[in-house]
C-alpha cells in the first residue's frame, strides 16, 4: 500500500456544485472508489490517495493533472481507495463522481 497526497490549483476554478459530496466506484480488483467532498481549501483541490499498487506516483500525478485540466474544479477534497485500477478507470471514476457533484446524474 502507498499513500499519495497531491494538491492542485487552477486559475478561476469552478466551485459551483449541486451536492456536498459524491461517491463512485467500488474497491475491487482493477477498480477503485472515489469520494469527492466540497471543502474550503482556498480554491485548491486536495487528493488523498491510498493505492494497492506501489510506485505509480508519476502516473497518479498525470491522471490528476489531466482531470484538473479538463474540469478546472476548486475547493474539493478527493479521497481515493484504489485496488490497482488502470489510469483510464481512475479518470472515468473521477469524471463520474464529478458529474454527479455537478448534478449531471
Amino acid at each position: 500500500m502507498e499513500h499519495i497526497s497531491l494538491e492542485k490549483e487552477t486559475k478561476s476554478p469552478d466551485i459551483a456544485f449541486s451536492k456536498a459530496s459524491s461517491l463512485r466506484g467500488v474497491v475491487s480488483s482493477g477498480n477503485l472508489e472515489v469520494l469527492i467532498e466540497i471543502k474550503e481549501l482556498g480554491g485548491k483541490c486536495r487528493f488523498e490517495i491510498d493505492t494497492a499498487a506501489d510506485g505509480f506516483g508519476k502516473t497518479w500525478k498525470a491522471v490528476i493533472d489531466d482531470f484538473m485540466e479538463r474540469r478546472k474544479p476548486g475547493n474539493l477534497l478527493v479521497s481515493i481507495n484504489d485496488y490497482a485500477a488502470s489510469p483510464d478507470v481512475v479518470g472515468l471514476r473521477l469524471d463520474q463522481a464529478y458529474e454527479d457533484l455537478k448534478g449531471g446524474e
Binding site: L35, T51, S79
Partner: protein, 300 residues
C-alpha cells in the same frame, strides 16, 4: 444512481440495488461513506479499505411504507463480514426493534466471514443472527434477498436461513461450504468445483427454491425483486409454532425421501419432474408452474 444500462440485479452495485428497490429519493443512509468508518484491520494486511466497509445501511420507503434496508457490496472483499461491516448491520437491526418499520429488507451478497478479521466477523455473524430472531419475535418481517455474484456462503448462508422469507434469482447461490472448499476437503470426485452446471444445480437458486429454502424464485432484475418484496410486505410469513412444526416435518420427509441420492437431477426426478434435465433451461415462471403441478408448491 439508478441503473441506466442493462437491468441486471446481479451486475448492480449495493448502492444501485438500494436505489432501485426503494421508492425514489427516500433513502437515508446511516454511517455514509463520508463518515469514513473504515476497517481497522485491513491496513495491517496491506489491503485497501472501503469508506463504507462494504455495506450500505439505512432507512427508506417501499410502496410508501417505512423500511430498514441493508445491502452488502459483494465486489469489496467478497461482501465478507468484518468488524465494522457486521456492527453496521447489527446496529441497523437493533435500531429497527425501536423504529418498528414495516419490514427489514436485507440484500445479502457475501462469501461469509472476512478472514483478515475472522474473530470479529464470527462474533458479528452471531450478533446478526440474534438480532434477526429478536425482530422476528416481535413480528417485524425480515426479508432476505440473494441475487449477487457472491451469493450467500459460510456465515452468510446461515444468516440467510434465519430470515422470515428468502427471495432469490436463478443466478444466486446459497450454501455453507463453497464448491472449492468442498472439493479441497472431500476431493474432486465428491464435488468438481469447475463444473459450473453442477455447482449451479446444487447451490443455485432453482435447487434452493425446489427444496423450499427459498420462497420465490425471482427474475434477475431490481424491479422484479422490488415487486416481490412489496408482495411479501403485504402477507408477512410469521413464526408461529404450527409453521415451525410444519417445517420440521418437511425437513424430516426430505431426509427420508432423498437420502442416498447424489446429483440434483436425481432428486428432481424423485420429486416427480418427468424431465429434470430441462429445469436449468426453464424460466422462473415455467418452473413455478411445473413445480406446482408435480408437488403442489412449497411450505412457507
Amino acid at each position: 444512481m439508478k441503473l441506466k444500462i442493462g437491468k441486471s440485479y446481479y451486475e448492480a452495485t449495493a448502492r444501485q440495488r438500494i436505489a432501485c428497490i426503494l421508492d425514489n429519493g427516500t433513502f437515508k443512509e446511516i454511517l455514509p461513506p463520508q463518515e469514513k468508518k473504515i476497517s481497522p484491520h485491513l491496513e495491517m494486511f496491506n489491503i485497501p479499505v472501503a469508506f463504507d466497509d462494504g455495506v450500505v445501511v439505512g432507512e427508506g420507503q417501499i410502496d410508501g411504507k417505512p423500511v430498514s434496508i441493508l445491502a452488502q457490496e459483494g465486489k469489496f472483499m467478497g461482501g465478507a463480514f468484518g468488524e465494522v461491516h457486521s456492527a453496521k448491520i447489527t446496529g441497523l437491526l437493533k435500531r429497527s426493534l425501536r423504529t418498528k418499520p414495516a419490514a427489514v429488507v436485507c440484500l445479502w451478497d457475501s462469501g461469509g466471514v472476512r478472514l483478515q478479521e475472522a474473530n470479529a466477523g464470527e462474533i458479528g455473524v452471531t450478533e446478526i443472527i440474534r438480532s434477526i430472531f429478536d425482530l422476528r419475535a416481535v413480528n417485524i418481517p425480515v426479508i432476505g434477498v440473494v441475487g449477487g455474484s457472491c451469493g450467500c456462503f459460510g456465515g452468510a448462508g446461515i444468516i440467510s436461513a434465519c430470515c422470515d422469507v428468502l427471495l432469490c434469482s436463478e443466478e444466486a447461490r446459497i450454501g455453507v461450504s463453497g464448491p472449492e472448499v468442498i472439493e479441497t476437503t472431500m476431493g474432486v470426485d465428491a464435488f468438481d468445483s469447475r463444473d459450473k452446471a453442477l455447482v449451479w444445480r446444487t447451490t443455485g437458486g432453482k435447487n434452493r427454491y425446489l427444496f423450499g429454502f427459498v420462497k420465490t424464485l425471482v427474475e434477475n432484475t431490481p424491479d422484479a425483486f422490488r415487486a416481490e418484496i412489496i408482495k411479501e410486505m403485504k402477507e408477512p410469513c410469521g413464526l408461529a409454532l404450527e409453521q415451525i412444526e410444519q417445517k420440521h416435518a418437511a425437513l424430516k420427509k426430505r431426509l427420508e425421501d432423498f437420502s442416498g441420492l447424489g446429483d440434483a437431477l436425481e432428486i428432481w426426478a424423485k420429486m416427480g419432474f418427468e424431465k429434470p434435465e430441462e429445469i436449468p433451461g426453464m424460466s422462473e415462471k415455467e418452473l413455478a408452474e411445473e413445480f406446482k403441478r408435480v408437488s403442489g408448491g412449497i411450505i412457507c
